[in-house]
Symmetry: C2
Subunit: 419 residues, 2 copies
């Protein structure tokens, strides 16, 4: 055990929101209350931007009811950002703010870019001899962080998508007299984890259930095969339900439906995969009706259809971050490890931030069937436990009543900073 | 009271499926079991097409569990069609099938085209002196049937959309550092009922809550006003959440985003309103990010987020159809009438099929605020009761377990018919 470190907690949220990133926040807050070494619990508004701007709030001042409500509230209650700390002055400012507010525990929930940011902040503190413990909390619907078995946020997005696919299947099956191609576009920039998750909509031992075809970034797209795939399905079924990930690529690795814009991290901004496939159907399969659904941002915040397992694990990850830091751990991210038992169970673990920051977990090619458009039993066995249990969202007058933070501001100690 | 009429029931489903049309089917079946004058309970597969083809099934043979499950199962369990009875031979065939199977009670769930079909069948039976009682059951997410206060299916679609808007609002509010325009496209071919329903996502006394702008077919669209509307919102808010109905029209009454295809009833097939508005944002508001969500068919089958009030009323409408027919009523559609009390309550009523068939209920212009992009208190008071209560969808292994009919076929008595 390392020495006691007495001071304040700062927690921040980063990157794209999920249905359960607030559950991790609730886990951090409720666990932090248990430890006498922790004096104050602050939140940074809009991730590192809030640190640079010294926009901190007092999370201990929030009501218990609010903290409980966070567990099923989508979005990111503290606000998030995609701002990348670029220059040395930015990092210096972060440390200056930490010192001004005696921040000794820093918890940052995000994907690999965010874990990289946390890692750099931690290394700078060490270089300057400022005692600080930094623990990352995994968060991304994309499920693409290495080492951890899966990431909080993923179970909920695939539960929502699979639910939607089952419902659309009921609808489309009813319209039995037409050849209909229904295309549902889902997120997934670099990996097909989300699109693959739609495979859960198939009931066990019902191989003909939708989705009939899943197009993944892991499998090079070919128009000829796409047309043949649909023709094969429509010979057998009344309709063809297709799920496509937004990050579809051709044999040369080029995005099928790329826009020219890129985000602050230089990632290509995608969209339009369903529209593109629809145009292929219209050009190559005359007389076949084609309809599209683009779930867009609705999918990453669908708390009302979220996974209880996912929310529970997100909460646990927040708690574990605090427990680990109190134990003296730093420069690590919380991981979820599947235990080697017959029944699904997870244990929390830790992995170095630097390893998380530099890796991307690909959907294993051996989990995709040879046809390239369906998932095999290994994937189903992996993903099924992640969607178990239904969230208990509170309803008020017929709609979800989500928690909102009061956001009591902490007095600024420093001059303003120009980002 | 009219004379007893002993014979068999035939029930069919028509037009686009909804989250609750199967609840009406469950209402018909469970009520029909109560009446000794009713001998057999048959279902027609795929609406009038199933009648023409003599594809009838034995609904009394289905398990009680299945009938109970229908109440929260989306789609149309019997299958539906958009086939229009065109020639006299079609109508004669329908009556021939009815006679062959001693059908004396015919219940047809659908929108105004379907009620028109039911009316014509009934008139032909009368002309031929064949004793038949025909009662229509209202069904359409579009909420555009006249006389009835609202239609089963509407409450569920607007509950789902409002839930989704609240969730996207949490997500977009978290991304607080960007000017973001988020466009959510919803259904609604001729009337803005569905898009208007998104207004329920605003909490009481929170006028700044999303949706910030609602574009309806009732208000002629102007690009200049659209751009000004967004600029006004983004001065005040961090993001601008827009809901648009697919049937948006310009000042000349032309669809903003029409395709050239039409359906069997001659209706224009729409789509792309969100894409069109996104292109306007990109052209007129450089630097503003714009994202789209197109809920498509997902919205009309979202039983997992459906309204209990809606499902209960759909069931009630099915029961009332049977009770009315047993009482001797015919040529009528079941209506839902709001009672004149402080608390919301509905009574069932009846209206002539011919009046339903020829009317379209428009969203009252006086329920839209003068700004043309928001709904006033009259609409909120009207719509709020329709989304109360949450459905109790059964889950199995983390996903909704929807009911499926066994579909025990009734032996055909007639030669095949060429449709």
């Amino acid at each position: 055990m390392s020495e006691d470190l007495v001071g304040n907690v700062l927690v921040g949220q980063s990157g794209g929101p999920t249905a359960v990133i607030n559950a991790s926040l609730a886990g951090v807050i409720s666990e932090a209350l248990n430890h006498p070494d922790i004096e104050e619990i602050y939140g940074a508004l809009n991730g590192v931007l809030g640190i640079l701007n010294e926009d901190l709030i007092d999370l201990a001042a929030e009501s218990q009811q609010t903290i409980r409500g966070l567990k099923f509230t989508p979005g990111a209650a503290l606000g998030t950002c995609r701002y990348k700390l670029k220059k040395q002055a930015d990092f210096d400012r972060v440390l200056e703010v930490f010192k001004a507010h005696n921040i000794r525990y820093f918890f940052y929930a995000g994907g690999n870019d965010s874990q990289d940011t946390a890692d750099k902040i931690s290394k700078l503190a060490q270089a300057q001899g400022y005692a600080l413990r930094v623990i990352g909390i995994p968060k991304t619907i994309d499920n693409d962080l290495v080492i951890t078995d899966h990431t909080p946020g993923y179970g909920s997005v695939i539960k929502y998508i699979s639910t939607t696919i089952r419902e659309i299947a009921c609808d489309n099956a009813a319209m039995g007299q037409h050849d209909l191609v229904q295309i549902v576009e889902v997120m997934g920039r670099n990996a097909g984890w989300i699109a693959a998750g739609a495979a859960l909509a198939k009931r066990r031992d019902h191989p003909h259930d939708p989705p009939h075809l899943i197009y993944l970034p892991e499998v090079a797209f070919s128009t000829e095969k796409f047309v043949a795939d649909i023709q094969r399905v429509l010979k057998r079924e009344k309709f063809c339900l297709i799920v496509v990930g937004e990050g579809l690529v051709d044999a040369d690795g080029n995005y099928i439906a790329a826009a020219d814009a890129t985000d602050a991290f230089g990632h290509a901004q995608l969209g339009g995969a369903a529209d593109y496939l629809q145009s292929l159907v219209e050009q190559n399969l005359p007389g076949i009706k084609c309809r599209t659904v683009k779930l867009g941002m609705a999918q990453r915040c669908a708390a009302h259809a979220g996974s209880k397992t996912d929310a529970d694990e997100a909460f646990l990850a927040g708690q574990w971050a605090v427990k680990s830091a109190i134990r003296g751990e730093t420069d690590k991210m919380v991981t979820l490890q599947r235990t080697e038992t017959d029944h699904y169970a997870v244990e929390t673990g830790l992995a170095p931030l630097s390893e998380i920051a530099n890796g991307v977990k690909k959907l294993p090619r051996e989990w995709i069937n040879e046809d390239g458009v369906s998932m095999n039993h290994q994937f189903i066995r992996y993903a099924t436990p992640l969607i178990q249990g239904e969230t208990q969202v509170a309803f008020d007058h017929g709609l979800p009543a989500f928690a909102k933070l009061d956001k009591v501001a902490i007095d600024k100690q420093l001059p303003a900073y120009e980002t």
